[in-house]
Amino acid sequence: MTSTDFTLAIEDLTVSFDGFKAVDNLNLYLDKDELRVVIGPNGAGKTTVLDLICGKTKSTEGSIKFRNKELTTLAEHEIVQAGVGRKFQTPSIYENLTVYENLEISFPRGRGVFGSITFKCTEEVDKRIKEIADEIFLEPLLDMEAALLSHGQKQWLEIGMLLIQDPELLMLDEPVAGMSVKERDQTAELLKRICKGRSVLVIEHDMAFVEKIADKVTVLHQGKILAEGDMQTVQNDPNVIEVYLGH
């Protein structure tokens, strides 16, 4: 298949580290505006898939097409500029800058060396930063140093830093890890809001949370897809119960 309607089309993707296949002949398709959750036991290759999509790890074989654009040959920043945003497992924000500055830096303009020197925080940028801050529940904390945020707030801030880039594909690696129950609910609501108009790929362990947000779930096991479908189907799949849910 050379041309697809999918936002993301992963075909025959394999990566091997010294003979160990972390991802093995994987095929995964993501529709426009779809929210997909990837689950699976530890070491199933979930994070590696995200690493491969965003260019952090180079694939051994196979192709990753984002809106029919091959990603495997692009550098990380080019993949981001093509419209892919990725949140890391541990909150990855700039601790020594304020919330506002964190969002300002992530604003997708002035990305070159000279562009960044002449970059001006115009009213438009300012407005957008406040909009995003409002969306991620951090509007009152704009001037706070990011190091002082709670763990959950840091997770939100990183999501906000991706949102301000308005990516067409948003990848979130365990967005609710370490969050309180209330924060989880807020995050679920946030995810539902932000997946409008873009595709979202989420890795998550918390089944209760997955149930709340997922349209479609993919179960990974040993680098391969074990099951795929809506939550109900996946939960009743004997294979899935055997390797993952049963334990």
């Binding site: 965003c54 981001v80 700039y94 800058l97 300002e104 992530s106 002035g110 060396v113 970059f119 830093m161």
Partner: protein, 386 residues
């Protein structure tokens, strides 16, 4: 107006800092020191260029270069080559077997000027070369390292090795470079004698003005989004990369800029001291520059100037009395600063400076003057009302 205030001077606090430093360098030191000492200060201030360059590169960029001496030296050598050619006219070198070439070339049996010396007959070319040659050199080093994501301690070691290689090269190629003695006996610039008293004053002030120019330029760069990106990269390089920035380009740029700044210092060094030698290129001067920045506070463009002056005064005084212990003291100082004052003098000032300023405000004479002024003002207002 706002642009100058916020972006170049660094707001109210930055302005006070700049004003105090300017008063010190432009007024207090020239008035209170004799020419010999002032010339020494001028020499120290050329090192301050290297220290300022390290604020950009090391303080903000988190990239430790142990080879700033390379760029300082390249700038200095470029200037020295021009001055040497001017000092080697056929008349004053007529006793040589080949008149018209620098004396050290004649001693090394060279019979004509090497091709790469030719362009340095032009002052225009030299001024450009002072900045551009170190810049290009830094670009090559930076490109080949940062594109491969070499960083941290490896970068420091490689820059240190480059400093060593360049020293060995200069010393080894005596006929082309003047060897271990360096390029000496520099006299005039376009016929203007750089050794007499008035020109020493003039060069001191040119140097000081350039230093402030470089501080303003650095402030402009650091207060932009570029500056915040440097801090962000220091903290979470991957996050910056996955926010759509080509991290290596930013590192290359800041490395090249810092090389150019250090090179201006080198050229001014040659002009004020009257020679250039490999002892200002190698590992020891490069590490000394890092110490100046560490002592002054590597996040502070103003602080490092004080750091440079202080360490160098200390060096001059201390090494006159106990020359053999200086290096130990310097090493100890570096360790102490890193351990107890990671932000250097600037950090101490930020923490305790307000005590001093409030102390000055509370001084009796200040309050007397204050009441005096207030009394005058009220009298004036009363007079106006009448």
């Amino acid at each position: 107006m706002n642009f100058i205030h916020e972006r170049l001077l660094g707001g109210k606090n930055g302005m006070i800092g700049i004003a105090i430093l300017a008063a010190l360098i432009f007024i207090i030191l020239p008035v209170s020191l004799d020419l010999f000492r002032l010339n020494l200060v001028g020499k120290y201030l050329t090192y301050a260029f290297a220290a300022v360059s390290l604020v950009l590169l090391w303080g903000y960029g988190g990239i430790l270069s142990l080879g700033q001496g390379v760029f300082f030296g390249l700038g200095g050598y470029a200037m020295a080559m021009f001055l040497k050619l001017e000092a080697s006219d056929p008349v004053s070198t007529k006793i040589q077997s080949t008149p018209g070439i620098p004396d050290f070339m004649d001693w090394n049996q060279l019979t004509e000027l090497p091709w790469f010396w030719e362009p340095f007959n032009s002052f225009g070319f030299t001024t450009v070369a002072v900045i551009l040659i170190p810049g290009i050199f830094a670009f090559i080093i930076g490109y080949s390292m940062f594109k491969r994501r070499v960083g941290g301690v490896y970068f420091a070691i490689i820059t240190q090795i480059i400093a060593l290689i360049l020293t060995v090269l200069i010393v080894g190629q005596q006929g082309y470079t003047g060897g271990i003695n360096g390029i000496t006996d520099l006299r005039t610039l376009h016929g203007w004698d750089i050794r007499d008293d008035s020109s020493k004053y003039i060069l001191y002030f040119i140097n000081a003005i350039l230093l402030f120019g470089v501080i303003f330029l650095s402030r402009y760069v650091l207060t932009s989004k570029f500056g915040r990106l440097l801090l962000a990269m220091k903290d979470k390089e991957d996050r910056v990369r996955f926010s759509g920035y080509d991290v290596s380009n930013f590192k290359i740029f800041v490395f090249v800029l810092s090389a150019m700044i250090a090179a201006i210092g080198g050229a001014m060094f040659t002009l004020q001291v009257g020679f250039m030698s490999p002892s200002f290129v190698g590992i020891v001067p490069s590490i000394e520059m890092v110490i100046f920045a560490a002592v002054g506070g590597r996040m502070s463009l103003i602080g490092v100037v004080y750091g440079t002056l202080l360490v160098n005064f200390g060096k001059t005084m201390f090494s006159e009395t106990f020359p053999e212990y200086w290096l130990f003291l310097m090493g100890g100082l570096f360790i102490a600063v890193v351990m107890y004052f990671p932000n250097g003098l600037a950090g101490i000032w930020d923490k305790h400076g307000y005590k001093l300023t409030s102390c000055i405000k509370n001084l009796q004479c200040v309050s007397v003057i204050k009441t005096f002024i207030e009394n005058k003002r009220t009298k004036k207002i009363e007079a106006a009302n009448d």
